[in-house]
């Protein structure tokens, strides 16, 4: 039926504002008017919402409680019980308090990177961003507008939940947000934008609790108790800023070392952590028992001997990054399990390895910290930090020369006479004279170690090598090519702490056997820090170990330096702790 007012078909045309539609001029005007009205309304609402948001944020910033969750004032037990009730109520109502999946399309760090340049007061309604994270703070302005800070992967974004944006009815909206607590993990989807003040925000249309937090999170000041930080590392990671950065740095250090060695064609291998003999170092091992084989096994204290066996087998460049175990006390720098990197390179010697160490370590610091100069709170966070300069080359101190220069110590008869009574007596006298305490047994090796600690290690705040240790201190290192009595060994010290230990490997099986025998003598004298003989290893040497340089680094200590941590527990995710006395 033709309407009198119906426009003639000829009069219809397409307007650029409404692509794909043909309409009359009158209709176009009408549509434009409606659009205008919609737009104004939206702007009005937006302005209103933001005004409220600003007010709320301003109040919050001033420390005023906009609307504190009533439960925040409850004691923790009551809080917990209320939350359990909430979860159970949901379950009995057929709800899913722990949904299987929330589809995110952007992570919070990505969100921050993508939208932080938005002008204040913008809402990109044409985009739907879906993100998820943990609520670190909740503020409300009436029942229709709520503000959440949501954190994930170390970054934060604000959610501005306005009932009018929500797909829920007002009643549903209010019920949902009433149940949200600080600590809950939530998913939200909606328009990216900024508040009037320019704070990066998301204006969700969809919002759901993905995992309710049943406990009250520690207050905004974070965890104060160190013990709790280590025992409940997950809480520490939630509440203490920068903790996650330490572990990201740790991961990056290991990755750097791995890639460095991979690029030099080293092969990463895995050698046993449980052995019949604990060799390769001197330490008390953990003992365990294999049930089925009825066999006593020791947790490894170093992978050294196995790795050298692989070099005997023709794997010319091998390394292993992994856990070692020492059944010793726990302190600022010791944990019963710790991570080392050891590598072995056929046809290289300790000079090659010193050059390589300089390159690797200085390169690592440059890559991960952006400079050769590193600031480190060597004397605690409350003291002025020191600067450690990793610019290569590193200082090299030959041990006995260094002692002579620093303390005037000159062993009678020189390095070749180190095994003598005379040398032992001389060093004992020197220790007394210089006020260096060495608890018994006062073997020559131990006396020297104390003197080196006092006079040489103290000099090495910046990275430096102490080299050419006496044979008696280094049972697995090769005798020095030009100075009898010494070995071709070095230790790298940084901030006065040993970080690397390396040597030209002793590959003469007969000498190795003698050295082990000497170690047994030391053990008989009461020095626990002496090695057991490993016949299987000596036998492998008899098949021929090529000239080889071997190297070890403590990953934990390196991480402490690069993350400005003073306690090894700061760089271990779950450090070993004394039994919790306060636990029931």
């Amino acid at each position: 039926m033709a309407d009198a007012e119906a426009p003639k078909v000829d009069d219809l045309k397409e307007f650029p504002e409404f692509p794909g539609e043909k309409m009359s001029k009158a209709e176009f005007k009408r549509r434009m008017k409606a659009l205008e009205k919609e737009k104004k309304q939206a702007e009005k609402e937006k302005a209103k919402a933001e005004k409220a948001a600003e007010q709320a944020a301003a109040k919050a910033a001033k420390g005023e409680e906009v609307k504190l969750d009533a439960e925040e004032t409850l004691d923790p037990t009551q809080f917990y019980e209320n939350r359990i009730k909430f979860v159970n109520d949901q379950k009995s109502a057929g709800g899913t308090p722990y949904p299987h999946k929330f589809h995110t399309n952007i992570t919070i760090p990505e969100y921050v990177a993508q939208y932080s340049s938005l002008e204040p007061g913008v809402q990109k309604t044409e985009v739907t961003a879906a993100l998820a994270g943990r609520i670190m703070s909740k503020r409300a302005s009436g029942g229709k507008l709520l503000f959440y800070d949501v954190k994930a992967d170390g970054q934060k974004v604000q959610l501005i939940c306005d009932a009018r944006n929500s797909s829920l009815t007002l009643e549903e909206f209010q019920k949902l947000h009433m149940s949200v607590r600080r600590g809950d993990i939530v998913g939200a989807s909606g328009a990216p934008g900024t508040s009037k003040r320019g704070e990066l925000s998301l204006f969700p249309s969809g919002f759901e609790i993905l995992t309710p937090c049943l406990h009250m999170l520690p207050g905004h000041t974070g965890l104060k108790d160190q013990e709790t930080r280590y025992r409940q590392r997950y809480l520490d990671l939630i509440c203490t800023p920068h903790v996650r950065d330490v572990f990201i740095k740790r991961s990056n250090i290991i990755r750097y070392v791995r890639r460095y060695l991979d690029n030099m064609n080293f092969v990463e291998v895995e050698t046993p952590m449980m052995n019949m003999i604990a060799g390769g170092a001197t330490a008390k091992p953990f003992i365990t028992h294999h049930n089925d084989l009825d066999m006593t096994l020791f947790m490894r204290i170093a992978p050294e001997l196995y790795l050298k066996m692989l070099v005997v087998g023709g794997l010319d460049r091998v390394y292993e990054i992994g856990r070692q175990f020492r059944n010793e006390g726990i302190d600022m720098t010791h944990n019963p399990e710790f991570t080392t990197c050891e590598f072995y390179q056929a046809y290289a010697d300790y000079n090659d390895l010193m050059d390589m160490t300089e390159k690797m370590i200085s390169g690592m610091v440059m890559e991960l910290c952006g400079s050769y100069q590193l600031t480190y709170h060597a004397n605690g966070k409350d003291q002025e930090p020191i600067t450690i300069d990793f610019t290569p080359p590193f200082r090299r101190i030959s041990m006995l020369d260094g002692l002579k220069e620093a303390a005037g110590i000159e062993i009678p008869g020189g390095a070749t006479n180190l095994m003598s009574e005379e040398a032992n007596k001389y060093l004992l006298e020197q220790c007394e004279k210089l006020g260096v305490v060495c608890p018994p047994p006062t073997t020559t090796a131990r006396l020297l170690d104390k003197l080196v600690g006092e006079f040489l290690e103290e000099q090495l705040t910046n990275p430096g090598f102490i080299c050419d240790h006496p044979e008696i201190m280094s049972p697995l290192a090769k005798y020095h090519r030009s100075v009898p009595g010494l070995t071709e060994r070095f230790e790298l010290f940084i901030n006065k702490h040993e970080v690397c230990n390396a040597y030209t490997e002793l590959n003469d099986p007969q000498v190795q056997r003698e050295r082990f025998a000497d170690q047994m003598k030391g053990k008989a004298q009461g020095d626990d820090e002496c090695m057991d003989i490993d016949e299987g290893f000596v036998k492998s040497l008899e098949y021929g170990l090529p000239p080889t340089g071997g190297w070890g680094m403590g990953i934990d200590r390196m991480t402490m330096l690069l993350s400005d941590s003073q306690n090894i527990k700061e760089v271990l995710l779950f450090p070993a702790m004394k039994p919790d006395e306060t636990a029931k």
Binding site: H215, P272, L310, R317, L573
Partner: protein, 607 residues
């Protein structure tokens, strides 16, 4: 002819004392007991007429094949001789102790001559493989004259040698392959008149030497270093075992892996492939934004799996500890702590019997991703496994123990109950009643011809279903298959399936009838988790507390309270995945036993 004969000789090179010289004057592997023996051997050296001989891996292999086929070329005489020689290895003229003493004497002689039998370092210019590619275009009979600092320097272990009076050939092996040293007395003696005789008398098979010289391709086409100088880098004082005898001894291969590696270059390749696989897994995850973490090996509660742990004791804390049986519960704590993508590739320990598939310590990679579920984990598994196959084997269809495995994604996906129903006709989940399930299972297992003795011990329908699956279906899953929807009773850490009752949102990947990976949509509900763990403990106690025999004290399974507390703080929805690295390496290196892919496997004590 010559080549063939020499090849046979070489095949036994590296063997036990073969202080034999044939009429031709070929001397192979001559560890000697004493100086007298040295003189004896020197007397037997004479000039051979055709010193052209090549030793490459390939040629060596050909020789080996020929040999194994027997006298295919009618060369009976030589074959017999070889057999005699090999037999001689079993009946050495000198005992091992004598050989050892002889070689120690040689080390001492080297010192006397001013040479260090244990050198400090060596600068090589190229590996065997690098030389081969660098001089690829060098024609047969051609030589590149190099002098002074331009000379090529190579190093490696002597694995074969042949001497012809004024000419000798040494084959040295390095990581990348073998190189032939062409040792011309006149050239060697230019700088040191004793050099050639020292080479003949003081260098044994097994020694590690370095040499410098020009490059030459022999008339037979063998690339060689025409050496101007050499040095002993490491004197070996124990002789290498005979390739065809000693290293057939599997136990010895594992116990003295270094000898295995020297004598069987393919073993080196296995461990190089292992390193590549581990590296590929890491890179795939790192490129996807996962962060590698290190969680404790020493724990106070064993969780994340149901297995007997190793116990130990911390002295300073005077506290019993156990070695982790999985990394799961600590990694999940990190997801609670706000890391969204983490993994750990490392050792786990289970105090169980050893077999071709079990070593007490093994390597796993566990991956956790917040806001993901098993669907992402399936994609990730396919990506990791297929990527490793492609990179390591160069193809996706890989032969494993005679079966072709097709690693092309996507892998088949099938619910466990479906697989069991297809195989037995029984829909266990529909049965609902435990007694009915047990009866149906007993009948089904009887029909399949497998033992049903575990069925009466199954405490739930879910356990019955799993038992039937393991007995009837597992071995049939040769091609990669994701088995889905495990009974909830055997999946204490997995979320319930969103739609199917009684099963978990879980998968296991089976290849060649073996479980390779295991993944869940992780259970995030702490109340449900507590019930499940408590049920697990109750079940452990009810089934005898892990006692395997009379007098066995069994082991404790405890609820990890700290883990539950962590869950109470809220873990986001999370997908988790574990892959057995050793088993993946086995598949991709065609290794029959886990001991072939672990450098130093645990073995029974040698008596």
């Amino acid at each position: 002819m010559w080549a063939t004969r020499l090849g046979q000789r070489l095949a036994v090179a590296g063997g036990l004392p073969l202080a034999r010289a044939s009429r031709n004057g070929l001397v192979v592997a001559t560890p000697r007991a004493s100086k007298q023996a040295v003189h004896r051997e020197q007397r037997t050296m004479c000039t051979a007429t055709s010193p052209e001989a090549g030793v490459t891996n390939q040629q060596g292999k050909q020789k080996k094949e020929k040999k194994q086929k027997g006298p295919a070329n009618g060369n009976n005489n030589n074959n017999n001789r070889r057999r005699r020689a090999a037999k001689g290895a079993d009946e050495p003229t000198s005992s091992l102790e004598e050989i050892r003493a002889g070689r120690i004497q040689k080390a001492s002689d080297l010192r006397t001559a001013g040479m260090n039998p244990y050198a400090y370092r060596f600068d090589r210019t190229a590996s065997s493989a690098e030389l081969a590619s660098k001089y690829e275009s060098l024609g047969a009979g051609e030589e590149v004259q190099l002098e002074g600092g331009d000379m090529e320097a190579v190093s490696g272990r002597v694995i074969a040698r042949r001497a012809f009076g004024k000419l000798a050939f040494y084959s040295i092996q390095d990581e990348s392959g073998t190189t032939q040293l062409y040792c011309d007395k006149a050239k060697l003696n230019q700088s040191d008149p004793e050099a050639f005789s020292r080479l003949s008398t003081l260098v044994d098979i097994g020694d590690i030497i370095g040499a410098r010289g020009s490059m030459k391709r022999t008339e037979k086409g063998e690339l060689s270093v025409n050496i101007a100088e050499f040095e002993v880098l490491t004197k070996s004082i124990l002789p290498l075992p005979d390739k065809f005898h000693g290293l057939q001894d599997v136990e010895k291969r594992y116990r003295q892996r270094y000898v295995d590696l020297i004598v069987n270059p393919e073993v080196r390749n296995t461990f190089r492939d292992r390193a590549r696989i581990v590296s590929l897994i890491r890179r795939t995850l790192e490129d996807d934004g996962f962060l590698e973490m290190e969680t404790p090996v020493l724990e106070t509660v064993a969780g994340g799996a149901d297995a007997r742990p190793f116990k130990t004791h911390h002295n300073a804390l005077d506290r019993p500890m156990i070695l982790r049986i999985a990394t799961e519960l600590h990694l999940k704590r990190l997801i609670v702590g706000g890391f969204e993508k983490v993994f750990e590739l490392g050792r786990v320990f289970r105090n169980e019997g050893i077999s071709t598939r079990h070593n007490p310590e093994f390597t796993s990679v566990e991956v956790y991703q917040a806001y993901a579920d098993i669907n992402e984990m399936m994609d990730l598994t396919e990506k990791i496994v297929a990527n490793c196959a492609q990179q390591v084997c160069g193809k996706l269809k890989v032969d494993y123990q005679g079966t072709e495995i097709d690693f092309s994604p996507p892998f088949r996906r099938a619910p466990m109950n479906e697989l069991v129903r297809e195989a037995t006709g029984v829909d266990f989940l529909a049965l609902g009643d435990l007694e009915a399930a047990r009866e149906a299972a007993a009948a089904a297992l009887k029909e399949a011809g497998v033992s049903a003795h575990n069925i009466p011990k199954c405490p739930s329908v879910g356990h019955v279903l799993n038992e039937v699956f393991e007995e009837v279906c597992e071995s049939t899953l040769q091609q990669p298959t994701f088995v889905l929807q495990h009974p909830i009773e055997i999946s204490p850490l997995a979320k319930p399936h969103p739609t199917v009752a009684g099963v978990a949102d879980r998968f296991e990947l089976f290849i060649y009838g073996r479980e390779l990976a295991n993944a869940f949509s992780e259970l995030t509900d702490p109340l449900d988790q507590r019930q499940r763990l408590e049920a697990q403990v109750a079940n452990h106690v009810a089934t005898g507390g892990g006692k395997e025999s009379k007098g066995d004290a069994g082991y404790d399974v405890k609820v990890d309270e700290d883990f539950l507390t962590a869950l109470e703080y809220g873990m986001p929805p999370c997908g988790g995945l574990g892959i057995g690295v050793d088993r993946l390496v086995m598949l991709l290196t065609d290794a029959a036993s886990i001991r072939d892919v672990i450098a130093f496997p645990v073995l029974k004590s040698a008596e």
